[in-house]
């Protein structure tokens, strides 16, 4: 396992940020999802050793998160959410500088900086002052500095924030390329679900400091629930209540279609039987293809 956490607790004063987080990540790209305040950033900070958990233990790439932060940081790349730069520098010097800070020899860091900047698409503007970079270029630069020392594990915090659609697609393609072909595991914290769905094969959903779900995205979508779209005729108050009593979550859309999230252990016949009992006609019944958005809504309990 590349990342392994057991019973991690962390509080900001009286506010609980992480409450008994257990996590196990191996190869590939993994998305870290959760609403605001779920504990995603805190989890990344703990993995990097910025914060020390109050309880629990964990290992990143086999190194203890409490005692061996230095070794972790040498093998891990981190792309923060905020814009980060050093005024008065160009991209090559900046990237090489952080390569050197990671422990690379100076000459090799400089050579590597050129390679990485070309890789992220900043080759032509690598000698420009960083203050003159656009938002998209700064995102690429942050990715470059995270990659310069060839990490085994890459932490990306909101990698597509502040990007236009084209820039977003390009960054996502880069992330996908890195995670799928380059033997680098990527952990992406994001609130943009399509990004996670596009780049990741695994997902960890955090809610209120706890892991609400984790595993392979496709498997999670299949195992945890089935989603049906239903259109009915008649007074459906009793029908809705019957479905909810059976553990289904029901959402009504603007075009009068009900989205029914059904637990895995429930048969779809139950829906028809409930309709029969409540004297409701079912005019439309389709098993919907579930998206990560649906999984997220179901797991976290928000629309």
């Amino acid at each position: 396992m590349n990342v392994e956490l057991k019973d991690i607790h962390f509080n900001y004063g009286k506010i609980t940020a992480l409450d008994g987080v257990d996590l196990a990540l191996s190869e590939g790209a993994c998305g870290l999802l959760g609403p605001n305040g779920a504990g995603k950033s805190t989890l990344l900070r703990i993995l990097l050793g910025f914060l020390s958990p109050e309880r629990g233990e964990g290992r990143v790439l086999g190194y203890d998160i409490k005692k061996e932060q230095f070794l972790i940081r040498r093998s891990v790349g981190y792309m923060p959410e905020d814009d980060c730069l050093i005024a008065g520098m160009d991209a090559v010097t900046f990237t090489a500088y952080f390569g050197e800070m990671s422990g690379m020899p100076r000459q090799e860091a400089m050579k590597r900086a050129h390679d990485v900047l070309f890789y992220v698409g900043l080759g032509e503007s690598r000698y420009r002052l960083l203050e003159t970079y656009s938002g998209g270029m700064k995102q690429r630069l942050k990715l470059a500095q995270a990659l310069v020392h060839d990490p085994k594990l890459l932490f990306l915090d909101e990698p597509t924030s502040n990007l236009d659609p084209q820039g977003r697609n390009e960054i996502l393609d880069l992330i996908k390329d890195i995670s799928s072909k380059k033997d680098i595991q990527v952990l992406i914290s994001s609130h943009i679900l399509p990004d996670i769905e596009y780049t990741c094969s695994h997902v960890v959903i955090l809610n209120k400091g706890k892991v609400a779900a984790q595993g392979d995205i496709e498997a999670l979508k299949e195992i945890q629930y089935s989603l049906y779209e239903i259109k009915t005729k008649g007074e459906n108050g009793g029908f809705l209540k019957a479905l909810k009593d059976k553990g289904c979550r029901v959402e009504e859309t603007e075009d009068q279609i009900m989205k029914v999230y059904m637990p895995a252990n429930l048969s779809r016949n139950e829906i028809f039987q409930a309709a029969l009992r409540e004297n409701i006609q079912i005019r439309y019944f389709v098993k919907s293809r579930t998206s990560l958005e649906d999984l997220f809504a179901k797991t976290v309990g928000v629309d």
Binding site: L48, F50, D83, I86, Y97, M101, M104, H149, K181
Partner: protein, 289 residues
């Protein structure tokens, strides 16, 4: 095939364990300082006192040749502890040191706070003390060029021009005093600069603050001293504190009738305050509890 199409390539090298992990930070600080507007000019100007005093060392050994230039008593050109004390505690030199700090030191931490680069530093195998050392060493580099280097140069020039070791035989402690006082002043100014630099994210504000604290501490001393005629008010002035300590280091009587150790304690207290603030302000992430 263009380079970008080659895609990502793994790095085949090996990491090195640096003996001084803070050195890249210092090197960058020095490099960025020289890129700043007016810095080269101010730095050149700040070397003028050293050039003048070096000339003084030469003239002191060639008094006969320069007799026509001497208006006052020739003891002014005697290279002795007073000469060294005059150089190290001269107001123009201290002022120029502050100007160097304003230009080269103000942004050391405040720029990192402003541009969120602390999290990039601390996501690397870097300790907090290495970060602070790296920033301090930048200030050390510039200020030691204005203090330690000229001080030792004066001793060396004196020995060369005199052609004997009589000077060292008379004042064997002078090189030690030069080294100790240079390090003390530089250490104090390094702490002072980093303290003020860590208080704000605005470089301009930090620059003004660095300058004003130094100037106004002196102004306040002047005001209180003229009203109350109490020499202890000299403790309020950074400049006077340095001068008092400098006098003690070069075995001269201090300008004000106040034990030099008090001034030393004031300077030490500012250093401690700085260390405390730096410990709280410098961290990879902002944690509000």
């Amino acid at each position: 095939m263009v380079i970008s199409e080659q895609g990502y390539v793994h790095w085949q090298g090996t990491f090195v364990e640096r003996r001084f992990p803070w050195w890249p930070i210092t090197r960058l600080g020095i490099r960025l300082a020289f890129k700043r507007k007016f810095f080269k000019f101010v730095f050149s100007i700040s070397l003028l006192p050293a050039v003048m005093f070096s000339t003084g060392v030469y003239i002191s050994e060639r008094l006969d040749d320069f007799q026509f230039m001497l208006k006052g008593p020739d003891r002014l050109l005697e290279v002795n502890p007073v000469f060294f004390k005059s150089y190290f505690t001269s107001e123009p030199l201290l002022f120029l040191m502050v100007m160097i700090m304003v230009l080269a030191g103000a942004g050391l931490i405040c720029d990192d706070l402003k541009y969120n680069s602390l999290q990039l530093y601390f996501s690397r195998p870097l300790r907090k003390r290495d970060y602070v050392l790296g920033k301090m060493a930048t200030v050390f580099f510039f200020l030691l060029i204005l203090t330690l280097v000229p001080g030792l140069l004066f001793v060396l020039l004196k020995l060369i021009f005199a052609g004997s070791f009589k000077f060292l035989a008379n004042y064997p402690w002078i090189p030690v005093s030069v080294i100790a006082f240079s390090l003390l002043v530089t250490l104090f100014f390094a702490f002072y600069t980093l303290l003020v630099s860590s208080l704000s994210k605005n470089r301009r504000y930090v620059s003004i603050l660095l300058f004003l604290i130094y100037i106004f501490s002196n102004v306040f001393f002047g005001i209180f001293y003229s009203i109350f005629h109490n020499p202890y008010f000299c403790l309020l002035s950074i400049q006077c504190d340095i001068q008092q300590v400098g006098a003690a280091f070069f075995r001269q009587s201090p300008q004000y009738d106040v034990p030099w150790i008090y001034s030393f304690l004031v300077l030490a207290a500012i250093c401690c305050l700085s260390a405390f603030v730096l410990k709280r302000k410098i961290r990879g992430v902002e944690v509000v509890k």
